[in-house]
């Protein structure tokens, strides 16, 4: 079973990396970009039966710093 964890900065938390990407895109001539926020994607390959609660625990204990970050879990159907 696979799951993806998306980690994003909370609203209102300054994202200097996103700002730099934004400026670089504009430097390349891309117009109409209102904002850029950068985050992380972590892919987990898990034993069958791993519960949502287990994955949330992983997020809270390590994968995300909930002082500044939000996380979202997406379970992937087995291909």
């Amino acid at each position: 079973m696979k799951a993806r964890v998306f980690i994003t900065l909370k609203n209102g938390v300054l994202d200097p990396q996103g700002k730099a990407i934004h400026h670089a895109l504009e430097g390349l001539g891309f117009a109409g970009i209102n904002d850029v926020r950068a985050g992380k994607l972590i892919e987990l390959d898990l034993a069958e039966g791993t519960s949502d609660g287990d994955i949330e625990d992983m997020c809270r204990k390590l994968l995300a710093n909930t002082v500044i970050e939000n996380f979202r879990i997406e379970r992937l159907e087995d291909a």
């Binding site: 938390v13 300054l14 500044i68």
Partner: protein
């Protein structure tokens, strides 16, 4: 004073901190490896040094904060043993939940490496008793992720309880309210981005950091 310096893979200020502690206390600190599960008996002070533990993987300090030795450090801090986290050590202590808030990428993205003026905001703590309240001192900084952030309620609490130990006099890295170093609620854990262990003797270009360790020694021996 019997001291310990924690060493993680990627720590690079552990030797500087050990030298500073030895000069001030006259005793060689124990160097404790991240995989150890116990601190040596009778430790009076623990230093979590600067560096790039675990290559800053995931977030600065995140992996180190979950390493086996940090359980022993957390237990010791709970018993009142003084703990200092400098630079990466500050990041480790926030990630371990021993201090509130988080240290993010510097607001202007650049690595900051220079001496910065600081104000001692609290001269009553274990770590700052040798300074005058409001005294202006200078420590070097060298970091990429020193931008201290916490929610407004936490910042107000830190200010109200005298837990802001040091403040930058100029804007350095985007830190909320120019906070450079904070104390935990019991006052025995200090985290700061600037490096007191790098200004111990005149050959370093300054000695402002020495009094931090001397003050600690005096308190521990008292």
């Amino acid at each position: 004073m019997n001291t310990a310096v924690i060493v993680f893979p990627g720590s690079n200020c552990d030797r500087d901190l050990a030298v500073a502690l030895e000069q001030v206390t006259g005793r060689k600190p124990h160097r404790v490896w991240h995989r150890d599960t116990k601190l040596p008996d009778g430790i009076d002070f623990i230093g979590v040094p600067g560096g790039f533990s675990y290559g800053d993987y995931l977030r600065s300090g995140a992996m180190a904060a979950r390493s086996p030795i940090m359980r022993a450090v957390t237990d010791a801090a709970g018993r009142g043993v003084p703990v200092i986290g400098i630079c990466n050590g500050f990041q480790v202590l926030t990630e371990a939940g021993l201090l509130p808030g988080a240290l993010m990428r510097n607001a202007r993205l650049s690595f900051v490496c220079r001496e910065v003026p600081l104000r001692v905001e609290n001269s009553q703590s274990l770590f700052t008793s040798q300074y005058e309240a409001g005294e202006k001192i200078a420590f070097p900084v060298a970091h990429h992720d020193g931008n201290y952030q916490a929610d407004e309620a936490t910042l107000d609490r830190l200010e109200g309880e005298g837990r802001v130990a040091f403040r930058y006099l100029d804007e350095v890295n985007g830190s909320a309210r120019n906070i450079a170093g904070i104390l935990n609620d019991s006052g025995n854990v200090l985290g700061l981005m600037p490096h007191p262990e790098r200004v111990i003797e005149p050959a370093h270009g300054g000695t402002d950091g020495r009094r931090l360790f001397e003050g600690l020694l005096e308190t521990v021996n008292a």
